[in-house]
């Protein structure tokens, strides 16, 4: 349970200390790629919560969505349309959906269970 969170912290730390900062020209591509990977990560958490988790889907989604969104921005620059917004919109919506599902699952699993327990306990008395 705590392993992913620890890994996240470790990732932050490693990124803070070791990663080279990319040249500013790459900033927009990396930004949308991060949006896509955030969606994938949250999707993975959701999968765990809903017991539909598939490691292959998570990993492929993580890398392919990340690269594809960066390519989307590049294509947008080539054809002169801000496809940037498409990526932001799609993954923004999906991030919120994933978060909403995670929240519901969390509430169902822990809060309502406790309520049921307390209710059943009171019934017993």
């Amino acid at each position: 349970m705590w392993l992913p969170l620890l890994a996240l912290l470790l990732g932050f730390l490693v990124g803070q200390t070791f990663t080279f900062s990319l040249p500013p020209e790459f900033a927009p591509y990396l930004s949308v790629a991060i949006l896509a990977t955030l969606d994938s990560t949250l999707g993975g958490v959701r999968g765990v919560m809903q017991n539909t988790y598939d490691a292959a889907i998570l990993m492929t989604g993580f890398f392919i969505n990340g690269t594809l969104s960066a390519f989307m921005v590049l294509t947008g620059e080539w054809i002169g349309v801000d496809l940037y917004y498409v990526v932001i919109f799609v993954f923004g919506v999906r991030i919120f959906q994933n978060l909403a599902i995670i929240r519901r699952e969390f509430i169902n699993r822990y809060l309502h269970q406790n309520i049921k327990k307390s209710q059943s306990a009171s019934h017993e008395v």
């Binding site: 349970m1 392993l3 992913p4 969170l5 620890l6 890994a7 996240l8 912290l9 470790l10 990732g11 932050f12 730390l13 490693v14 990124g15 803070q16 990663t19 080279f20 900062s21 990319l22 040249p23 500013p24 790459f26 900033a27 990396l30 930004s31 790629a33 991060i34 990977t37 955030l38 994938s40 990560t41 993975g44 958490v45 999968g47 765990v48 988790y53 490691a55 998570l58 990993m59 993580f62 990340g66």
Partner: protein, 236 residues
């Protein structure tokens, strides 16, 4: 704690996400200012060039000293004395020696208003002012002129590059100090009637001083002729 199959992949994904996120943060926090970066390289370039100039100038002075030494050792020989005298006269005429004599000192400075005004160029000293004053002084028979300790000789350029005035390709900073050796009264009269007078009328903080003794440094650069070839007498 039991290691379930989802632990590992999600851990990896989280690690990668954290890594990407911080590196992006770093990239975004970088100073995104291409003009500043370009300016910095240009400034560095100018600085190295100026250092190079200075080195070359010291080299020139060293070479000149060496030449002088040669002249000194050879001066005892017959027939060379008049030549040596000739050379001395020529170096003096070319502005390659320090000179002293009576003359005037003019100082020019930008107006205070230049800092606050919306049109600062109205209140700044431009290269043209310095050029005109030097011309006025020449017309008044000045025999040696220097601007901020840079000798004005026949090849001297007085120009501007951006917001900086260059004399002999040396950058000047205000206040500008123009020294001229010649008849002080005449120099003063001509300067007053020319560009200097205009600047004075325009409320620029300028001063003009007559002095009995002014020291003007030697020209530190070199004279190079890449295209001009002297014609011997009798040709053409």
């Amino acid at each position: 704690m039991k290691l379930e199959n989802w632990h590992l992949s999600i851990t990896l994904v989280c690690l990668l996400f954290g890594l990407l996120f911080t590196s992006n943060l770093k990239t975004q926090l970088q100073e995104v200012n291409p003009t500043a970066a370009r300016n910095k390289t240009l400034v560095d370039f100018i600085k190295t060039q100026e250092n190079k100039n200075q080195e070359l100038e010291t080299e020139i002075t060293a070479s000149r000293k060496k030449i002088e030494e040669y002249h000194a050792t050879k001066s005892g020989e017959n027939g060379l004395a008049p030549l040596k005298k000739n050379i001395e006269e020529l170096t003096f005429a070319a502005g390659l020696t320090k000179v002293t004599g009576p003359g005037i000192v003019i100082t020019l400075d930008d107006q205070e208003k230049a800092r606050t005004s919306k049109e600062p160029e109205m209140y700044l000293i431009h290269f043209s002012s310095i050029l005109y004053i030097v011309n006025d002084l020449r017309a008044a028979g000045a025999e040696a002129i220097s601007v901020n300790n840079d000798r004005v000789v026949s090849t001297t350029d007085i120009r501007c590059a951006g917001n900086i005035i260059l004399v002999n390709t040396h950058r000047l900073a205000p206040p500008y100090r123009i020294q001229a050796i010649g008849d002080p009264d005449k120099l003063e009269a001509v300067a007053q009637s020319g560009e200097y007078g205009f600047l004075e009328l325009g409320n620029f903080p300028v001063t003009l001083e007559k002095k009995d003794e002014i020291l003007i440094p030697a020209y530190k650069g070199s004279y190079t002729f890449n295209y001009a070839v002297p014609l011997k007498e009798g040709e053409k």
